[in-house]
């Protein structure tokens, strides 16, 4: 259960080091995307077309923020349930995506694809959305502006707190954590 400050994009060396249960403070650029954006990216991949963004080495944060008040960089911005992205995720990992931030369980296909592609799935604290918004220092739409809060944004983050749930070696904190604290 180590603690790391990590600069994005994720390098192979860092991914190799991260283990389920580690706390990571991310610094640098991450992208956002929810169901609608994932569907669009997935369809482009299926048709063999070029994506509007380069996802190689990137981290996608599953978030649909609340509107920003004047003067705020972003509104409340906690993670959404990752499982809704499961159908699209393996294709993105095959294209070089290296990290995902969300909350909740992933499918077996996604877990296998994480190991195969040497990637990592992080959890951010669901519902800690006001706190998380304070760690986002810049926010701009880079694709699909018509989707509103579901557009793809480029975020700059500082000490953005996440926890490794699924590491590149098959570690799974949702399983291990439960086993450790379960009382039979």
């Amino acid at each position: 259960m180590a603690e790391y400050n990590v600069l994005t994009p994720l390098t192979e060396e860092i991914i190799d080091k991260l283990q389920a249960g580690d706390t990571v403070y991310l610094n640098g650029v991450i992208l956002t995307g929810r169901d609608a954006a994932h569907k669009k990216l997935f369809e482009l991949i299926k048709e063999g077309k070029e994506l509007p963004i380069d996802i190689k080495g990137q981290i996608i944060y599953y978030v649909g923020p609340s509107p920003a008040r004047p003067g705020q960089v972003i509104g409340s911005a906690g993670p959404t349930t990752s499982g809704r992205m499961d159908a699209y995720t393996p294709a993105l990992l095959d294209m070089g995506l290296k990290g995902m931030i969300g909350k909740g369980l992933r499918s077996k296909d996604v877990l296998d694809s994480i190991v195969k592609n040497k990637a990592v799935y992080f959890a951010a604290t669901g519902g800690a959305a006001a706190l998380i918004s304070k760690r986002i220092t810049q926010c701009e739409v880079i694709a699909y502006p018509e989707l509103g809060p579901e557009a793809i944004y480029r975020l700059e983050v500082e000490n953005f707190p996440v926890i490794v749930v699924n590491d590149a070696h098959g570690g799974d904190l949702y399983k291990q954590g439960r086993e450790q604290y379960q009382i039979r």
Partner: protein, 280 residues
Amino acid sequence: MKTIKYDEIVNVVAGLCQEANYYLEEDVLNAFKENLKNEKSPLGISILNQLIENAEIARKERMPMCQDTGFAVFFVEIGQDVKIDGGLLDDAINEGVRKGYTEGYLRKSIVGHPLERKNTGDNTPAIIYTSIVKGDDLKITIAPKGGGSENMSGVKMLKPAQGVEGVKEFVIETVDKAGSNPCPPIVVGVGIGGTMEKAALLAKQALLRPLDQRHSDPSIAALETELLEKINKLGIGPQGLGGTTTALAVNIEIFPAHIASLPVAVNINCHAARHKTIVL
């Protein structure tokens, strides 16, 4: 006879939408602090601390504690001696939601058609449950409900012979399967009895009761306590990362049942257990 103006309801509802989303109720905050004392997992402790800090930031900056500001669900008790002047109650509530969510920088999370899925842009329509009561008060409660926890809820029509053991099994199974998805620590609302939809409604109403208040029937109160203990032994913990604080409370409501049925519903709420009430 008391007359309440349409516009007054609009403004009050707009305010309720915002307050419910900015200010976490004391009973929930206290439950975080109580559980901090007992939580065994270091990650669990750090999550609970984040949630306390999050509630403080939301309160101070008047920003929603969670970006999913929910489906606006209302429970309205209208005294039979109340007259609403200037329009329909449902219209006033919907106009209040429109105003509250837009002016309060709350997220609009409602699609107008469940299959076509185009956002209505103003978080309407609200879901409104109205009951007529004695007197001349209008009591409005809002309980904004996030999708993540709602999606992990369920109803089951048990056989009467399955009895209380069947109820326990279904509640535990529902929480167990939900795992990390509904943002634990959760609040578990349980409805037992009635018909299928009545049990579901009871489960939702159960979520309105303060977390530290047990059911008035001692046997149901004991069932609440027993289920909470069992749930907290599952090991799911804060955010599902492992730990002893999986649920903050189990609240049960009951209703008479048909001789042939034993409906049970579980409505899971996340730690953003929001509700606000006002009496006009």
